[in-house]
Symmetry: C2
Subunit: 338 residues, 2 copies
């Protein structure tokens, strides 16, 4: 006997007396196939020596061309990540099942069961902050990519903004403009985003041999109110202050409000930088804010593209830190000498 | 012969020599079934006098328990509508395919084809403003519900916020507090939201026999900058002004900024009301804003629940105007006499 032709799903279907589609479903464990039909198909496949792995690249591959998007709650920050992923999936002819877990573990488990029952090819978990969130990868038979916030398991694949680098861009910009007395007003220390941005700022100041104006990082709420309070404190106690780097555009908006009321000119007397490039604050502040953009839609797209690779069996693990970019507007300018 | 037992899908499947699942797919026109199999199933169904309509309520009903969510672009306003619908679908064991059309008709057509190929049971179209948007109902074999903005076809089913009523709540509140010189600062006249809110305000003022302070509705951008400009104008030209009803919280935030700078006390000298209950403006303004909440998440839930009914063959057409609610904070209080 010569070399055997490899067994195809057509052979299995013919042997079992079912259509190719039914044979495919039976082999992939779909629920739409009757138990006795499935048993017959599996028996024939075994007798013929059919290799189910051959399915993986075929037309009847068991792929549903569907991905799950599981969110921990959708807000201004996770929304662009979600939309970027949706856009990349659409371009790749994948449909997206949206599940908003809302940070509720029972709800999340319900949704994961639903997504598995629907045989999604892979899953993106969109976090609601950059803080690590529990891994669900081990429980799932499909690839999982974490976006915006990483998973707690460093072996998982995560796409997160490079906040350390983003803060570095901002402070380097201030130094280039000749600013030397730079304070930092940011959100609660419990947030990794606040700690990362503070670390990025410190690294650049340290390298320049400059102290932090005001002596310490001013942690408070992610709010205009905190920006106003912190600015009033700084402007009345640190007379040499010539720049404030803020951990969010909301905070920077509040800093600009307070500076305006205290008669300080931005950017002449005081340069102000925000973070987020959130248009309703960044472009509406007086003057419009120089700020750091985390490129969140691009981050979502990159996560989806990575998932494509992972579904095809490529792709390793690890945390991908995606670069931020500085958006320069009128709240920063060279220091006026004399 | 007695009365014939009605023909079931089991009879069709047995007659055609296929499984019930395959017979169901063939009768529902699914693409996974081979052409020759489908032809055989349809022939047997005709011979036996099988009524495919009997499928509609059965276990093998052809329902995919999947709904499409087609958005015209997702922002702070359409997002809660989308999340409300997603929540109602999840509770109803429906999965949601998310498609962000981004207001691009080619992209929208692509997504509609995809959703039909995936046999969604129904579709919710989430608009990006309350302006009517083109109807797609006639092109589709499944129920469609429009949410946030209505379709241009009044025979379609739409769920929209009752902006006329919402503005009425706000102005009635001001009248109850003894305010008599009320101005209105809002967004571009091109937006139905701006026109509806102005109409609601006018109706209440007319009924009270009061003129509009400042003489006319002040239309501008949906921005703090416009709020500041309009307030500076009003506060310097209308000395008797005692309240400003704003078409958005962003505008109201700007009005409060300008009033603060011009030394007017809110609410003692000037009552201010916003619209949207957008926390980053409403709770961060000085003082926090009384505002109108459109209950958008509830609106999205109602649209999804209506779609369930429509899928089951109930539900008529028409525009459902969903009530808004007034959220009272510190920017309004009784007028101080003397």
């Amino acid at each position: 006997m010569g070399r055997k032709r490899s067994v195809t799903i057509s052979d299995v279907a013919a042997g079992a007396g079912v259509s190719i589609a039914t044979a495919s479903k039976a082999l992939n464990g779909r629920e739409q196939v009757r138990a006795e039909t499935r048993a017959r198909v599996l028996q024939v496949a075994e007798e013929l020596g059919f290799q189910p792995n051959a399915l993986a690249r075929g037309l009847l591959s068991g792929r549903t061309q569907t991905a799950g998007l599981l969110t921990d709650g959708v807000d201004r920050f996770s929304l662009p990540v979600l939309l970027g992923a949706e856009d990349a999936f659409g371009a790749g002819q994948m449909s997206v099942l949206l599940c908003d877990g809302r940070g509720d573990s029972i709800r999340e488990q319900h949704y994961i069961r639903t997504l598995l029952a629907r045989r999604v090819d892979g899953l993106i978990v969109v976090a609601d902050s950059t803080d690590p969130r529990p891994s669900i990868t081990d429980d799932l038979p499909i690839p999982v990519v974490y976006a915006y916030g990483p998973s707690t398991d460093p072996a998982d694949v995560s796409f997160v903004p490079d906040d350390v680098g983003g803060a570095g861009l901002a402070v380097n910009h201030l130094l280039t403009l000749g600013r030397r007395h730079i304070a930092h007003v940011t959100g609660p220390v419990e947030y990794l985003a606040a700690r990362d941005r503070a670390a990025g700022m410190r690294a650049v100041l340290d390298e320049a041999g400059l102290p932090l104006a005001g002596g310490e990082v001013l942690h408070g709420a992610w709010s205009q109110r905190w920006g106003r309070q912190a600015a009033e404190l700084l402007l009345t106690t640190v007379p040499e202050l010539d720049a404030v780097f803020c951990g969010s555009d909301q905070i920077a908006y509040g800093v600009a409000e307070a500076a305006h009321e205290l008669g300080r000119r931005i950017p002449d007397d005081l340069a102000v930088i925000g973070y987020d490039n959130w248009d309703v604050f960044a472009t509406e502040a007086r003057p419009p804010l120089t700020t750091v953009d985390m490129n969140l839609e691009r981050l979502g797209r990159a996560a989806a593209q990575h998932l494509f690779t992972a579904i095809d069996g490529g792709a390793g693990g690890g945390v991908h830190r995606m670069p931020c970019r500085l958006v320069v507007r009128d709240s920063t300018a060279p220091r006026r000498t004399g």
